[in-house]
Each structure stands twice: as C-alpha cells, then as structure tokens.
C-alpha cells in the first residue's frame, strides 16, 4: 500500500516540480495570469478525464458545471452575503446534486446519444444563465466579489497561480487515488466492456453515476475559481464552445492521462493568447489544430509521446 502511494506521488513529482519552478521564467504578471488559467482549466480537464478516459463516457456539456460553480460564487456573496469559500463548496454540492439527478437517466445512453444528451444539458444551463437576468445579469454577466480566506484577500495573478497550482495537484492526487481504487478498476472494466463488467457483478449504472458526479464537482470548483479569478462571470462560461474546449483538452492531452490533461489545457489556453496578433484568424487556427490533432495524434499528445519513448503513460 505504501509502495502504491509513493509510486503515485512519484508520478506527480515532476509535474509539481514544474509548477514550482516555472514562475522563475515568468517575465511579467501576464504570464502568471495565463499559467493560472491553464491550471484552473487543467483541474476541470482532470475531472472530465476521469469520466471520458477511464469510464469511457463522453460529456459535451461539462461547461454547464463550470457555469454552476461560477455563478454560485457570484450570486451567493452578492445576494446572500455568504463567504466566497463557502460558495465554492456550495457550488460543488449543487453541481454534484444536479449531476446526480441528470446523470441517472442520461448515463443510460451510449455513444452519439450520450454526447447529444450531455450537449443539450450544457446548452440548457447556458440558456438559463442568459435568461434569468434578475439573478445573473443576463448576457453581460455579473461581477464576482473577491475571495477572502481568513482575512487573506486572494487577489493578483501570482497568488491565484499558487492557489490554482495547489488545487490542481490536490485534484490530481485524488484522481489518481480514485483510479487505483476498486471503483477505478471497475470504471476501466466498464470502459472495456459494459456487459462483461456487469457479469462480474459491477454495478455499471452506479459506478458511471459516481464518476459523473465526481467530474461535475471538479468542473464546478474550476468554474468557481475562474469566476473569482476574473472577478466577473458571463454565460459564456457555460457555453457550447467552452464544453468543446474542455473535451478538446482531454482528448488532445490524452484520454486517461492525468498529465495529459495539463498539457491539453496548456495548449487550448495558451494558443489563443499567442494568436492575439492574428486575432482574426484565431478561430480558423483553433479549428484547424483541433482537426489535425484528432486525425494524426488520435490517442493524444502524452500517450503518443510515451508510446514513442517506449513506455506506458
């Protein structure tokens, strides 16, 4: 058991080292900002990767949970004077409950049907956020009060970089833990064959629901961070394009690879920033890259590179 734990932490050690060492190369606060965004999205991608890479269930509506997390930390402190940190937790609970209720019927579906049902869920969340203007500020969104933790005001890109980095590592450890647990093995069995796993007395529906709820909680926390970090939130956070970006991060980085989620998030977040000079061509390049990666690096960057290096990811 101890060997397992150390093995698991050892796998994350290089990632942790990079997160700690990277700021030494940051010339300005702008770099902190981009890196913090990468880490926040990576957290959401890790959660989605549990669902997609391990359980083999796709979700094209995960930005809906980003939206729930984002708006709970906006609405809670603004209208009910609740502390922001409590709202992060509250958002996670709300997302978990929503995922539990919605996931039950949705996860019975497979393949295209599952993709479309989750997509429908995500778009519905975005539509509700846009239309309930009395609470959400409508399409223009609303401002989000800063996070205050025990008198400590969390602000500035560098502070958020460390908060996001620590949260990502915690999230990654928990994810690796889940993967190595009996539930994780059951999920991989479901990925390979649902029928074979149910023959092995795995409660397929329940395990799928569990991982759906877990991935929703990851996305919700990431959404809360995103809103608190930006100090502002708009319904775009839950939009269809956001959901696609999340899936792209997972697939690009490599399904089933936790480090891959970080790589995928880095590519999807950094790319538009470097393309600002080519502002008009941003979408063209994003679409083109998405196609090229999907066609030629179908297994994702990290697993493909690992296969080249001759060892499993």
């Amino acid at each position: 058991m101890r060997a397992l734990v150390t093995h698991r932490l050892a796998a994350l050690a290089p990632v942790a080292a990079i997160i700690v060492a990277l700021p030494a190369f940051f010339p300005s606060a702008y770099y902190y900002r981009v890196a913090a965004l990468v880490l926040i999205f990576a957290l959401a991608a890790v959660g989605l990767n549990l669902l997609m890479g391990f359980a083999g269930q796709v979700s094209l509506g995960h930005a809906g949970f980003l939206g729930i997390g984002g708006y709970v930390v906006a609405i809670g402190p603004t209208y009910f004077a609740l502390p922001s940190w409590l709202c992060i937790v509250g958002g996670a609970v709300v997302s978990g409950v929503v995922a539990f209720v919605v996931g039950r019927p949705i996860l019975r579906l497979k393949g295209h049907y599952l993709a479309v049902a989750t997509l429908g869920f995500g778009v519905l969340v975005a539509i509700v956020l846009t239309n309930e203007a009395a609470w959400t500020g409508g399409p223009d969104g609303m401002s989000v009060p800063r996070l205050v933790l025990f008198e400590w005001r969390v602000r500035g890109s560098d502070t958020w970089y460390w908060v996001a980095g620590a949260s990502f590592l915690v999230g990654a450890v928990l994810a690796l833990n889940l993967i190595d647990s009996p539930t994780g093995r059951a999920l991989r069995a479901i990925h390979d064959s649902e029928i074979a796993s149910s023959v092995l007395a795995i409660d397929v529906a329940r395990k799928k629901l569990t991982v759906f709820v877990v991935s929703a909680v990851y996305a919700s926390v990431a959404g809360s961070y995103l809103a608190l970090f930006n100090g502002h939130v708009t319904p775009d956070i839950a939009g269809f394009l956001r959901s696609i970006e999340l899936v792209a991060m997972v697939v690009l980085g490599g399904m089933g690879s936790i480090a891959g989620s970080l790589v995928g998030a880095a590519v999807i977040v950094v790319l538009p920033q470097t393309l600002t000079a080519l502002h008009d061509y941003e979408h063209m390049v994003l679409g083109l890259l998405l196609m090229v990666f999907m066609i030629f690096l179908r297994r994702g960057v990290v697993p493909s590179l690992a296969a080249l290096a001759g060892r499993p990811a």
């Binding site: 997609m52 796709v58 094209l60 019927p105 949705i106 579906l109 393949g111 295209h112 049907y113 993709a115 479309v116 049902a117 997509l119 429908g120 869920f121 778009v123 519905l124 539509i127 509700v128 239309n131 029928i195 269809f240 394009l241 696609i244 899936v247 792209a248 697939v251 008009d280 061509y281 941003e282 979408h283 063209m284 390049v285 994003l286 679409g287 083109l288 890259l289 998405l290 196609m291 999907m294 066609i295 030629f296 179908r298």
Partner: protein
C-alpha cells in the same frame, strides 16, 4: 384562432429549415456513422456566399448557384481532408473533428466575409398573404415549397437511380456493399456533397426571413440534430417529421409560454426524447451485439 394559425405557419417555416438540416445529418450519418456538426456551417455558407457575390455585383440567381457549388466543394473537401484520413477513429474523435471543421469554417467566414448580419431580398416581395386572420410572408411559402422540392428530389434520387440504391446499400451494410462492387468511399463522399448542397439550399431559402451571419451555423446544427433525434436518427422521413415538429414546438412555446426560452425547447425535446424513447419517433430500435 388567428393567433394559433400565425404560430402554426411560423413553426412550419422554421421547421422546414430544421428538417433540411436534419436531412443533411441523416444522409451523412447513414453513409458513414459520422455526426457532422459542420452541417450548420453549410447553411451559413449558402446564405453568406450568395449575399457577398450579390454585393459584388453578380446577379442573384447566378450567385445562388455559385454558392451551392462552393458549399458542395467545401463538403467534399471536409470529407476528403478531415473524415477520410480519420477512418476507423472512435465516435468521439469523429465528432471532435467535425466540431473542429465547424469552428474552422466559422473562423474562415469571419475573415472572408464579415461579422455583420446580412439578408437577401424576398423572392415575391414582403406583402403578407392574409389567411384566416394570420399573415404569412410569401417567402415562408417559398421556404416550404423549396424544402418540399428538396425532399422530393432527394427521394427520387435515392429511390429511382442506381447511384441512390448504392447509397442505401452502403448505409445498410458497408462490407456487403463493397462486396457487390460499390465504391463505398466515393458514396460517403457523395453523401457529404449532397448534404452540403441541401444545407446551402436551406441557407438560400431562409436568409431573406431570418438573416444570416458567420455564426448562425452552431445553433442551426444543434437544432437540426435535435430534429433528427426526435424523428429517429437514420430515418430520412423521421428527419423531416422531426424538423417540422420541432419548429412547431418552438413557435407554440414562444407564442404561448415565453419567447425567452424559445431556444431551450429544442434541447428539452432532445432530453425528453432520449429518456422516453431513445430510438425517436420513426427510428428503428437498435440491438446491440455482445
């Protein structure tokens, strides 16, 4: 009653467009199992190309023809350069490829055209026809007749030509189709071309009423897909029925309930259909082999 008729006709008009988008989905899905999320971009390209050729001084009928041909070329390129090289990829990968294509086409349209809304002149003026207290734009009838023509032509092509039968054979069983000498790769390419043409025609029909811009494709694709789901994915008749029904649902809920949540209707329909009868209204149930 007048109100009811008014909603009925507006629902029918929008529904006809959804039906065409759903039909495009169905064609490609049947031939290749690919869910083409760039279907909405075909509609956008048909409308936008015509608008801009028209602005450049090209007579509109010619502009419309060129727009359809250009969209078909885009459809063929999509198949040749994005779908064909990814043969054998998983359903999710293929979905992501077509979503990438959709983002790419939207980005390209934003550069080649612009970001503003554009319209086309109505074919028979804008003087509404009065019918039982409801006012119907002549263009609505153009949309309905045009969509009906597309459906009939497609049916004739599929049912009455050898090439059409090859499309059915490919949809039914790809390996068996190849065994009897059908070039299934070419049939899949053909289905992309026909889908693109249908999309472009839908764009031509609807632009005078609904306006078009570089980003109208996404919502159209999602709703067309909802329509295909409602009708039963893979069924051409289902796509038409599903499209018309979805248009009605939308129009009536916008009229009688709340226009704010008009766009939500399509997704509620998707979820309701998936939960209650996943094979859709006219789709066949699918038996999974172990």
């Amino acid at each position: 009653m007048a109100e009811f008729l008014q909603f009925f006709f507006s629902g029918l008009t929008v529904g006809a467009i959804y039906a065409l988008v759903a039909l495009g989905f169905t064609l490609i899905y049947n031939a290749s199992d690919v869910i083409n999320f760039a279907q909405g971009e075909f509609v956008m390209l048909g409308g936008m190309t015509t608008v801009f050729l028209g602005l450049a001084g090209v007579p509109l009928p010619l502009a419309a023809l060129v727009a359809v041909i250009a969209t078909v070329a885009v459809g063929l390129a999509l198949h040749r350069f994005a779908i064909e090289p990814a043969r054998g990829a998983s359903a999710v990968t293929l979905i992501m490829i077509t979503i990438g294509a959709s983002i790419f086409l939207r980005g390209a349209a934003q550069v080649v055209f612009d970001k503003r809304f554009h319209g086309l002149p109505h074919l028979f003026g804008t003087e509404p026809i009065r019918l039982g207290g409801a006012a119907i734009l002549p263009q609505s009838l153009v949309v309905l007749v045009g969509a009906a023509c597309v459906v009939v032509l497609l049916w004739l092509f599929i049912d009455r030509t050898l090439l059409g039968k090859a499309v059915i054979a490919t949809a039914a069983n790809r390996l068996a189709a190849r065994l009897v000498g059908i070039n299934t790769g070419r049939i899949v390419g053909l289905s992309f071309a026909v889908s693109a043409a249908i999309g472009a025609v839908a764009g031509l029909l609807v632009t005078p009423i609904a306006l078009t811009s570089y980003d109208v494709g996404t919502l159209l694709a999602l709703k067309g897909f909802a329509a295909a789901m409602l009708g039963g994915i893979g069924s051409a008749l289902g796509a038409v029925v599903g499209g018309l029904l979805l248009g009605m649902f939308e129009a009536f809920s916008a009229g009688y309930v709340s226009s704010k949540y008009k766009d939500a209707v399509a997704f509620l329909v998707i979820l309701a259909v998936l939960f209650a009868m996943p094979q859709g209204l006219l789709g066949r149930g699918r038996v999974e082999r172990v």
